[in-house]
Symmetry: C2
């Protein structure tokens, strides 16, 4: 097991490793078939002229990508510009060496340095280890807010019925 790593911004060449981590996270979240984006989509959306997100990666001395954080801007009508941390993932056999906390801290540092007013993310209620970790770092995990979504199938049905 590699015990040393660096955190750096993700680049085009890291896209395949990042997609592998996205899929591994979806499996952990019990949604193994949820990932519909392709490697081409990820490269176009994240590593082009107007990227839709930024990434930090954790890279070992041997050059392996063992973890990543993917985030982008949001806007709070209460606070102003904020950061949303969409994915934070360290591959299973590299946990416990601090890569997850280092990636998390890098995103918080980025937000602080760039004057974002808040960092937000979502966590599954059964992922109690993660919730405890977040609360220990000073984050709030809210009990009363629910996430709502209209997916693509729902959108098509709604549009068909209402317009």
């Amino acid at each position: 097991m590699s015990m040393s790593f660096i955190i750096r911004e993700g680049k085009h060449k890291d896209a395949k490793s990042i997609l592998d981590l996205i899929v591994e996270l979806a499996v952990f979240e019990k949604e193994p078939d949820a990932v519909e984006i392709s490697l081409g989509d990820l490269i176009r959306d994240g590593f082009s002229d107007r990227p839709r997100f930024k990434t930090f990666v954790a890279e070992t001395a041997e050059g392996s990508i063992i973890g990543m954080a993917l985030f982008y801007e949001r806007y709070s009508t209460w606070k102003g510009k904020t950061i949303h941390l969409e994915d934070l993932m360290v591959t299973a056999n590299q946990r416990g060496i601090g890569a997850g906390k280092a990636l998390y801290a890098s995103v918080l540092k980025y937000a602080h340095e760039n004057n974002y007013k808040r960092v937000a993310w979502e966590v599954l209620d059964w992922n109690t280890n993660a919730i405890e970790f977040y609360r220990n770092t000073g984050a709030n995990v809210f009990e009363e807010w629910r996430v709502a979504q209209m997916n693509q199938e729902g959108l098509e049905k709604f549009i068909h019925e209402n317009f």
Copy 2:
């Protein structure tokens, strides 16, 4: 009570009305002191060269803004580009004439027409009327996801302790 309205894109001249609705929504959500942004912030962030959000407004025949929807892009590592509906609000004395549903439908239509893969938002668990409305339109309201946030004070404390 005015019974007719149109939905149109929000403009610079609507910023004050939009801010009034943001504050009214915060009061409804039992966070009356949460709104820290100023009118100047809202104009700079939403009605400048590179706006951080878009709005639709509901306007009466007399020219009053009685409701608004405020939304922006996000990115799903499962589906691709998505829309986040940050605020959907109709002023209290103009409820029941369909402005809320019309604003909601306009955001869904915008998302569908522009090939967004999903529309997401957040709702308070005690706002059962809203949850029922959303579910009746085909949206999912998830029980197991929790919203987590590190606010500005938390960020400063975390950075001070970790860097």
